[in-house]
Each structure stands twice: as C-alpha cells, then as structure tokens.
C-alpha cells in the first residue's frame, strides 16, 4: 500500500493548483448543485464535514494517531457555539471563538492524557474519553438540554464592516462556510508540509527513531491532537449554526466512527485531499443512495469493507496510482518522490 509519504514532499506553497481548482469548485457549486439533483443545504453540510475531516486527518493520516472519539470535539464546539448565543450574546465570531476554544481546551486535556500511548491503547483511550463527553452531554441536562440538546440556536449576522450578511439565507451561509473551508484547507496544507508536519509524519513512521534524533514525541502527538480538535470545534460551531441546534448524537461513537470511515474511504492515509473525497462520497451515498433505498448505510458499509480489503489506500490512493500510470506522467520511481 502506498502511504502519505509516497506523495511527493513539497516545498511550502500557500496556494497550489489543487487549492485553486478546489476553490473554483466551491465557488461555483451553487450554480450546478441543483442541476445534478442536489440541494444547497447539502453543500453547507459537506463543507462543514470537510473542515472536520481535514483537521481530523492531520492526526489520523499524518500522525498515524487513530482517534475513535473525535465526535466529542465536534459536539463540544457545537454546544459551545449554542451556549454562547443563548447565554452571552448573539455573535458570530464570539460563538465560533467559543467553539474553537472549548474544543481546544478539551483536546489539550485529553491529548495530554493519551499522548503517552500509541496504537490500540491510544485508540481505546480516545474512544473512552469520547464516551465520557457524550454521556456528560446527555446527563448534564441543565447545561446541554439533555437528549433534546440545545434548540433554537440563532444564526448570527455576519458583519463585514461595510455590509451585513444575513446567514439565515442558506446561500449566504454556504458562501461563509465555503470561505471558512478554503481558509482551513490553506492552513492545514501549510501545517502538513511544514517542519512540524514532517516531524509528525516521522512520528507515524518510527516513533522511537524520532525520539533518538532529538524530538519530544509526546509534544508532537499532543500538538497534533490539539490542532485537530481546534478544527473539529470550529466545524462544530458551524454545524450548530447550520442546524440551529446542538445535540448529543453528533458526539456519539457512531458519529466518531463515521469520520474514520470517511477518511479511510477517501484515502486520508495517502493524500491530503483524501478526507475531501471521503466526505463527498459519504454524503452523496447518503443522499443519492438514500433516495433509492432505506438500507443505504448497509451499502456504504459494504463499500467501506471493499475499500479496506481491495484498495486500502482509498480513493486518493487509487487516483494517485492511476495518475502515475498515465503515459505523460510516466517517470522513474526516484522522480516520483522528488520535490514538486
């Protein structure tokens, strides 16, 4: 199986052709989403989950740290956004900052506890902490609204100084979320290709060797955990705004498993864009297969099994291998890992 490091090491560019194409697709999506039988709100959902999945993949794909309780931080972000609107004041930036901050604090505490571990112990600990947060969200009725969750979370107005944008309009919200996604992509792309990102990949490949060349492995694992929870919290805040509610289900084990499936099917272990493919595949499966059969999740599950068995590198890996085979891309192996 090819891995993330088979993708060429790159010099740090803030913008790449892929990011430009991705931005163009996002910018034009409202024009063609309807024509292919989809709807505007789906675009919002997909964009939010892409932020979540890309941040998660910094930990999962780049760091090789398999968190199975990451839904907790999406949920904490969602609750923090809602609680801010209900108890502090209706503010877009205040709510999003609260979401990022709350998820980051939770991530820093849990990360400190789990970063001494690796492999199955790391996975199980993240799962256990995820369950603690999920259970707390259900039981702390006075704070979270219990199983009903927080309802009637307002969508604050976006104040640009020269103009005010009403985000109750789904089109406006879509462009806001899409802009947030592009900013997240640029930031995560830079982080993945920074010295920090390269050391994180070294930790994934050989933790012991990384320590013996002078790196504090615990710190890198912790920092990757915190960064991924910051993005999860941000996505959670946007999710609460889009749904106008926050509820315990998004923190459940089921939801934490979904993000893992999305990243694996898309090829997050192989490429930066893997989580993006994975999120699109999931939501298209849900909305297209879902109109055909109630058992769409069964078919999605079978697709996941097929990918794991026959194409463990996921869609991104399959595309990468196919691109290598193109006649005009054929090049010796040594060139394929040279700097882009």
């Amino acid at each position: 199986m090819i891995t993330l490091s088979d993708i060429p090491p790159r010099a740090g560019a803030w913008l790449t052709p892929q990011i430009v194409v991705f931005t163009a697709i996002l910018a034009t999506a409202p024009l063609w989403l309807g024509t292919i039988g989809l709807y505007q709100y789906l675009g919002i959902e997909i964009a939010i989950w892409m932020i979540y999945a890309l941040g998660f993949n910094l930990l999962f794909g780049y760091g090789g740290l398999h968190s199975f309780g990451h839904g907790a931080y999406l949920g904490i972000g969602a609750y923090a956004f809602g609680l801010f609107q209900h108890h502090v004041g209706v503010s877009l930036w205040g709510g999003l900052l609260a979401a990022v901050f709350a998820a980051g604090i939770a991530g820093a505490l849990v990360g400190a506890a789990v970063s001494h571990r690796r492999g199955i112990y790391f996975a199980l600990l993240t799962n256990a902490y995820g369950q603690v947060f999920w259970f707390s969200a259900i039981k702390l009725h006075w704070l979270t609204g219990g199983e009903d969750g927080l309802l009637n979370i307002p969508r604050p107005t976006l104040d640009l100084g020269f103009a005010r944008v009403d985000l109750n309009d789904n089109m406006a919200l879509y462009f806001f979320v899409a802009t947030a996604l592009v900013v997240s992509v640029v930031l995560l792309w830079r982080i993945a290709n920074s010295p920090f990102g390269r050391v994180l990949q070294a930790v994934r490949q050989n933790e012991s060797r990384t320590a013996f060349v002078g790196y504090d492995v615990w710190w890198f694992k912790w920092a990757a955990f915190v960064i991924s929870t910051l993005f999860a919290g941000f996505a959670g805040g946007l999710f609460a705004m889009a749904q106008e509610s926050a509820y315990p289900d998004i923190m459940s084990l089921h939801q934490s498993g979904l993000i893992v499936m999305m990243v694996l099917v898309g090829g997050g272990l192989v490429g930066f864009w893997g989580p993006v493919y994975g999120v699109v595949l999931y939501f298209v499966a849900r909305d297209v297969l879902g109109t055909l059969t109630e058992t769409w999740l069964l078919w999605y599950g079978l697709m996941f099994m097929a990918v794991v068995m026959f194409r463990p590198e996921g869609l991104a890996g399959a595309l990468h291998v196919s691109a290598r085979r193109l006649p005009f891309r054929a090049a010796p192996r040594r060139a394929s890992v040279g700097p882009a």
């Binding site: 891995t3 993330l4 490091s5 088979d6 090491p9 790159r10 010099a11 740090g12 830079r190 982080i191 290709n193 920074s194 010295p195 920090f196 390269r198 050391v199 990949q201 070294a202 490949q205 050989n206 012991s208 060797r209 990384t210 320590a211 013996f212 060349v213 002078g214 790196y215 504090d216 492995v217 890198f220 920092a223 192996r333 040594r334 060139a335 890992v337 040279g338 700097p339």
Partner: protein, 247 residues
C-alpha cells in the same frame, strides 16, 4: 578524561539482573568496541547509555555532566547519537528526508507551522553533505525502503551523523551485511573516526579488532576484560570464545 564514563550501572528487569555494576569509559576521538556473547547485556548497556532505559543505579557522565536517566531526545540534543541492531529508518520517506529531519537546524524549526522545508537550500545542502559522507550521494530522492540492505545501514549511520553528534553509538552495524558491504562499512568508519568518538557493539570479531582502539568484553552483565585489540588477543576467554581458537 573519558568523554563518556559509566560507573556501577545496574539494570534489572523483574528478577533478572542484566547489568551488574558495570563500569565503562570511552575516550574522546577513539573507536571503542563492546563484545560478548548473546544475552551478555551489550544492547541493554547501549540502551542505558543512550537513554532508552533508566539505570536502577549508577552514574553516567558525558563530558562531566551526569546524564543517567535522561531521555533519548535530550541526549540526542547533547550530542549522543546511535544506530540500532534492527534497522530503524523512516521507511516511507525519501533518503534525503531521513537525514534532513535529524539535522539540528531542522530541529530548531520543528514547531514552526508555516515554514518551508523542501525549498530550503541550506537544509538540502547539509543533508546532501551527510549523504556524501556515507556514500549515498545522488540517491537523495529514492524511497529509503527501496535501498539495498547495505545502503540502508549506511543511511542509518547517516541519520545518526546528521544529528551532529560528539559520540556515535553503533549497535552491530555489520548485522546482515555481506562481505563487500562489510568492507564498505569498515571504510566508512575509518573515515568517520577522525571526526567522531565511536562506540560499537559487534559480533564480527575481525571487523571489531581491525577498527577499535579499545575493546570491553561484557559477559553476564559485567566487564570481564578490556584493553587494546592486541592485548585482548592474548586473553584466554577471548581466544576461546570469540576468536574461535582452541587452548
């Protein structure tokens, strides 16, 4: 004064005592060897000296500073670097990245989230210089996993050298190497000895006796003999056990 001086190091795992008040000293600028039968405690000794294991008691002084129990990353930053008996590389990365990541100038930028790596000519040149030293010039962008075994051994030494160490610990560097690769490795160590203090564990007695200035013989977790290769050739235990001579 010895650059590294370990005194009365004791290490046990449960009921099993692996190092029993062992004392070793490695002089600066020399190639020091450690030999002994399997299970003698040689690799455990390396692990203790390079920070993987904390000794139960005893002192380890590096250039006068007590380093017993310090972490591998702390020791790497102080100038203690090592290779492993079982190859330990970043197998999914290109050859040059294996070396780059170990460079101190890379390490100083480790927490930068928006810095560049592969367009930094200084870093690339420094890594190329190391690869040149270990005979891997021109193979920078090959995946390290695709290198032949002997070249992977050389790369492992390159990774250790990239950390700009004062002391280089090599754990059975000829393990798994054929005759030609062993000769190449001996040549490499001869070139390196002028610049680094080298300590190596080795089972290939010819290799060790040709290269080492001093050798310590470890058995049952204790040093049972030490001296120059010439002096050790007259040692009865060494003759019988290691050199395969009958007497």
């Amino acid at each position: 004064m010895a650059l590294i001086e370990a005194q009365n190091i004791h290490k046990r795992f449960g009921a099993r005592v692996v190092l029993e008040d062992i004392s070793l000293a490695f002089e600066e600028g020399q190639v020091s060897g450690i030999m002994g039968p399997n299970g003698a405690g040689k690799t455990t000794c390396f692990h203790v000296l390079t920070g993987r294991y904390k000794p139960d008691r005893g002192t380890i002084r590096f250039d006068g500073v007590d380093i017993a129990g310090r972490t591998p990353q702390a020791l790497a930053r102080m100038g203690i670097s090592r290779s492993f008996q079982i190859m330990s590389l970043f197998d999914q990365s290109a050859v040059i990245e294996n070396v780059m990541i170990a460079l101190p100038e890379f390490r100083t930028r480790r927490r930068r989230l928006a810095d560049s790596v592969f367009n930094d000519a200084g870093l690339l040149d420094a890594a190329r210089e190391i690869l040149d030293q270990v005979g891997l010039a021109g193979r920078e962008w090959e995946p390290s996993a695709s290198l032949p075994y002997g070249d992977r051994r050389a790369l492992e030494i390159g990774v250790a050298l990239a950390a700009r160490p004062r002391v280089l610990f090599l754990d059975e560097p000829t393990s798994g190497l054929g005759a030609e690769a062993t000769r190449n490795l001996a040549e490499l160590i001869r070139r390196l000895r002028a610049r680094y203090t080298i300590v190596m564990i080795e089972h290939d007695m010819q290799f060790l006796f040709d290269l080492a200035d001093r050798i310590s013989v470890v058995h049952w977790g204790q040093v049972i003999a030490e001296g120059t290769p010439a002096a050790l050739r007259t040692n009865k235990w060494v003759q019988r056990s290691a050199l395969g001579e009958r007497g």
